[in-house]
């Protein structure tokens, strides 16, 4: 019996997570509903003249990503916690870093789906034309969502056993993802021409470097987090 390779495990875990989510739609629906509520709050709460709306948009986009992303990572191991499958998962000979990477990609996929829904709707309701900068904003948000996934997914293992994990997780995750949030708001502002700065690409590179650093760190950390 040969233990499966690293990327094989990533694919198996990712496929399982997407399949269970497509059946229940619990996490995705919760994230999407929350994203839509935030969109309406921002749209009706801050709606003003087009110039002001344009200044508001970066903050609204990244706040939506922050809250929906945190909601998503908090549910990362919910399926494993329900019937105790987490123990069976970590007892398998599969590379635990690969298991975590599969979980991270699952979180990223759900954030992407939610942002595909929220971003155009928010731009539409705030009447901000983002078509000219859509590519760089999409890249920023993609890397930002990855940032939430790489920070939040390993920490979400707390939710399997810890009491008050729903409260504890945001307290731990929010400070860690603050650099991503600041870089994202700055970068998106520069892309839209509402923030002083020369180059949005510098912030893109910053978020990418953050993703790599925390991603690699998380893969090493996870191994130590799963045993009592």
């Amino acid at each position: 019996m040969n233990a499966p390779g690293f990327f094989s495990v990533v694919g198996v875990v990712l496929a399982k997570d997407l399949r269970t989510e497509l059946r229940s739609k619990q996490t995705l629906m919760t994230m999407a509903m929350f994203g839509l509520v935030l969109t309406f709050v921002f749209a009706f709460g801050f709606v003003a003249d087009p110039a002001t709306n344009k200044k508001v948009l970066p903050g609204a986009l990244w706040a939506s990503l922050l809250f929906t992303g945190t909601l998503g990572v908090g549910r990362t191991f919910a399926r494993e916690a329900e019937l105790g499958a987490f123990a069976a998962l970590v007892l398998s000979p599969a590379d635990r870093a690969a298991v975590l990477l599969g979980k991270m990609l699952g979180n990223l996929a759900m954030s992407i789906v939610v942002m595909v829904l929220v971003v155009p709707l928010l731009a539409l309701m705030l009447r901000v034309d983002i078509t000219a900068t859509a590519a760089i904003i999409a890249l920023q948000l993609l890397l930002g969502a990855l940032g939430f996934a790489v920070v939040g997914t390993p920490l979400a293992v707390m939710a399997v056993n810890a009491r008050f994990a729903e409260v504890l997780l945001p307290i731990v995750v929010f400070p860690l993802v603050t650099p991503v949030l600041i870089a994202g708001v700055k970068g998106t502002g520069i892309a839209l021409g509402t923030t002083i700065g020369e180059d949005a690409w510098g912030w893109v590179q910053f978020i990418a470097a953050f993703d790599v650093a925390f991603g690699v760190g998380g893969l090493f950390l996870f191994e130590r987090m799963v045993t009592e």
């Binding site: 019996m1 399949r19 123990a87 000979p93 045993t227």
Partner: protein, 236 residues
């Protein structure tokens, strides 16, 4: 795959929770090709021991060895252990077949489709194989849990209350599957409060009370009487 290992051994094994010893200085052997009944009242340290034998929990002191090698939580060691715990350890939204296929892929089980079909048929879930597990009764889920643990044909099979929720037919099926794994050479550790059923399966017994060993040896004669003598009367 048939396990050919000698034994699972623990030496000076201890586990402390918040200044409280759940298990103290335990020396014991779980030979390959035998079923060892792990017995004791609530709080005796059975689940604590199971946790450390499974690599899910680290010992506070002492060590566990498998075939003379320290039992760490490396993939190679984990791949040799099958574990049934208090919970079913399954995914509710997935069907019985999908659950076994998922874990089979993680273990690299060869001829997975055939193996999954055979196990599902053996545990009597063929008609429900494609139904989500969240709609299963506790007994049906427990049958699948036993199938999950046996899927990779483990060299060490740890069973913590494996008969929970099983009906008479389920008990017969589970007992047969456990005995067959023993006959294939696995070291089986069986913790159960069902002394009558355990007596029909066990070759040896390890009895614990308040985290300490009170008996270890072959089961000869009446297991229930031995348990009363070593555990219950000693406590009185």
């Amino acid at each position: 795959m048939s396990p050919t290992g000698q034994a699972l051994c623990v030496r000076g094994l201890g586990r402390i929770y918040d200044d409280h010893y759940a298990l103290v200085g335990l020396d014991a052997t779980f030979p390959a090709g035998t079923i060892t009944a792990l017995l004791g009242p609530n709080g005796a340290g059975k689940s604590t021991l199971m946790g450390m034998l499974s690599t899910l929990a680290r010992p506070s002191e002492g060590e566990v060895t498998l075939d003379g090698q320290p039992l760490d939580d490396s993939p190679a060691m984990r791949g040799r252990i099958g574990y049934v715990g208090h919970r079913t350890m399954l995914y509710g939204p997935l069907s019985a077949r999908e659950n076994l296929a998922f874990f089979g892929r993680l273990y690299g089980v060869p001829d997975l489709t055939g193996r999954v079909d055979a196990l599902i048929t053996e545990v009597g879930l063929a008609r429900d194989a494609d139904r989500p597990v969240e709609g299963f009764s506790r007994g049906m889920a427990q049958r699948l849990t036993i199938a999950r643990a046996l899927l990779p044909e483990p060299a060490v099979l740890l069973l913590d209350e494996p008969f929970t929720g099983l009906d008479q037919d389920g008990l017969v099926v589970a007992s047969r599957m456990i005995a067959r794994r023993r006959d294939a050479g696995a070291a089986v550790v069986l913790a159960s409060h069902d002394l009558a059923l355990t007596a029909t399966l066990a070759d040896r017994a390890l009895m614990l009370r308040r985290g300490r060993k009170v008996f270890e040896g072959p089961v000869e004669g009446d297991l229930a009487a031995l348990y009363r003598e070593r555990v219950e009367e000693a406590a009185a």
